[in-house]
Chain length 135, copies 2
DNA sequence: ATAAACCTTGGAGTATAGTCTAGAGTCAAG
DNA sequence: CTTGACTCTAGACTATACTCCAAGGTTTAT
């Protein structure tokens, strides 16, 4: 069991952020000490690390909340709902993957190609690099 | 040459957003009509589309601004600076790629595996699916 | 046993990225 | 030649996601 400061430094977020996430339902307070101190478990560590990752790739806290609440019980209705929601997110994620790959390549082009090489000057900006690979 | 409304609907952003980006130096006003209407060129279309993409994968407008301002002239100093900055961004982008792949796989697991299959119930949440692939 | 370091709540403040409104001018179609 | 759709500026407002502060209680190290 971890206290808030311990979880915070473990997860690389601030104590305030953890309390903020709790207030918004992203982490569920498990337990408190007699004096009211929050106590966190390994599950919370996982949740926070998921939240941080998902946020970094562009999901809002609201979307993350929905993702965390998903739970497929094996009856068909819940399955249908979850599948629809999740497949939607997969589409978004795939688009983001393509975009991030494109940006990565153009960054790479920018980093590699323009240092004393004889590439045309058009390649030596991010937009130039982006266009280069579009060809 | 496009008027603001035309560029806006082409790029899928609002007119206000375009003016906002201009105010913050992300797009440079090229030209105005005599009556003061903004006129945009193809270069602006590219810039906006870059901004939108970069934003979607988690860059802030500030970072995007810096990326757009990068321009390697072939002297060594500018090269050094740009390379450092860009390589930094590439590291970040690579981390994001890994994270987004991980999330994608767990979404896929969630979508595929839990609909009437005989997987354990632990796999039927996003965290369960994430852990599954960690093994 | 007392100071430093931690925790609590509630509420105010901040940064980012828009979004909306008002009041006025411009342009194209009927 | 006026109506409707568009544009302009400046400034107020909003949502999201924190971040900080005050005033107080708790724990731990010396």
């Amino acid at each position: 069991m971890l206290k808030i400061g311990e979880l915070a430094s473990l997860a690389g977020v601030s104590r305030d952020t953890l309390r903020f996430y709790e207030k918004h339902g992203l982490i569920i307070p498990n337990q408190r000490t007699e004096s009211g101190y929050r106590l966190y478990s390994n599950i919370d560590v996982e949740r926070i690390s998921f939240i941080v990752s998902a946020k970094e790739v562009g999901f809002t806290l609201n979307e993350i909340h929905q993702l965390l609440e998903l739970e497929v019980t094996k009856d068909k209705k819940s399955c249908q709902d979850v599948k629809e929601f999740v497949d939607n997110k997969i589409t978004i994620v795939n688009q983001r993957l393509l975009e991030i790959e494109k940006i990565k390549h153009s960054l790479q082009t920018l980093s590699d190609a323009c240092c004393g090489g004889d590439e045309p000057a058009t390649q030596c900006t991010i937009l130039g690099a982006l266009n280069e690979q579009a060809r």
